[in-house]
Amino acid sequence: MLKYSVPDNKIGRLNKFEFFDLLNRGKDPQFDVFAETACLIANCPSSLIAIMESETQTIQSCIGLEIDSMDRENMVCQYSIANGEVVIIIETLLDNRSRPDPLILAAGIRFYARIPFVDDESFELGTVCLNDYKPRAIIESQITTLKKFEILTEKYINMDMLNEQIGGDGYFKEIFLNLLINELNQTKNDIDTAAAIKNTGDAKMILHKLKETAGTAGLFSLSECALKWEKKADDNMDFSAMKKEIIEEITIGLNIIKSLIKYNQKLC
């Protein structure tokens, strides 16, 4: 039987969990949005968001699986928690790390990817696990996007801000979220055009508007990114870098909002 290794930063990590009030929280429906988003990004049928506590892994949300927590021993997740790195197993039945994992065997999981969320002080706060029922690969850009997905610190979306705008009105919520999707898609096109013809004035205007739209919707990371490029917008701006970064951030925002819509539909 494989024995899991204990990471050197275990105490600091658990202290951090306490600080963020992440210990013993159990499932939180708010995380379903992010689990759905992770599935959309990686095109996987199943995902779970979890916190690895001292001996158990607490599931915050899972899509396509029904579990609340798992003992750490024998789980494939132990390999990532020990070194904080991404684990990708394209065929679980052929890999020594995944073969003894009871969850993988019971659920018939054949593809497994685990991407840790690391905070500014290099503490792993949580993880997203992606599963598929057939062997497959994951592309680098999907991993990059998922790595940036610092869910637990709510970097990407501030639900309080979003709810403040919507004000608990289900009908308006649908209008608001669909409007947001339209606006973000339009901005993607506008940024593409402005970058292609290197129009600084247009780029500045688009970025300014994006900053406000994203901020209003609680997409603070996108808003900050737009502000950063708005400040840099002059004739010497690297249009290509700006376009790449902004479109990447908009795509994350769009995925989160689409997942939110899907989650709301599920609740109805």
Partner: protein
């Protein structure tokens, strides 16, 4: 009250409209400065809420236009971080109040209440 909103961000425009309608106000939506000025000329608006940076004419130009029309309309400016100087200029041109984006719609509603005749 009849309230004009001038805002080129559809999301913010619709959010404010939604809240104002719920509070029982009448609302006119405009999506750029030029449209807002034309609408202000044709209508007796009780209050205007305007963005600063907009296509065709800015919020500052709207304030100047209101002055030129000789109308006494309270105007709440929707500003962004880093627009402090513009906001000061707006107050010189007769702006009544300002709120920084992203803002809480409830806070905006509270500010609007100050302009509802008792």
């Amino acid at each position: 009250m009849l309230i004009l909103i001038a805002e080129d961000d559809e999301l913010i425009l619709k959010t404010i409209e939604h809240k104002l309608l719920k509070e029982g106000h009448e609302v006119i939506l405009t999506r750029n400065g030029k449209e807002a000025i034309e609408t202000l000329q044709k209508n007796n608006v009780d209050l205007a809420i305007t963005d600063i940076m907009m296509p065709f004419a800015s919020g500052i130009e709207i304030l100047s236009a209101i002055q030129s029309m000789g109308k006494q309309i309270p105007v709440i400016m929707l500003s962004s971080m880093g627009q402090e100087e513009v906001v000061l200029n707006a107050f010189d041109l007769g702006a009544s109040d300002f709120i920084v984006k992203p803002f809480s719609p409830s806070e905006l509603m509270l500010r609007i209440k100050r302009y509802i005749p008792k």
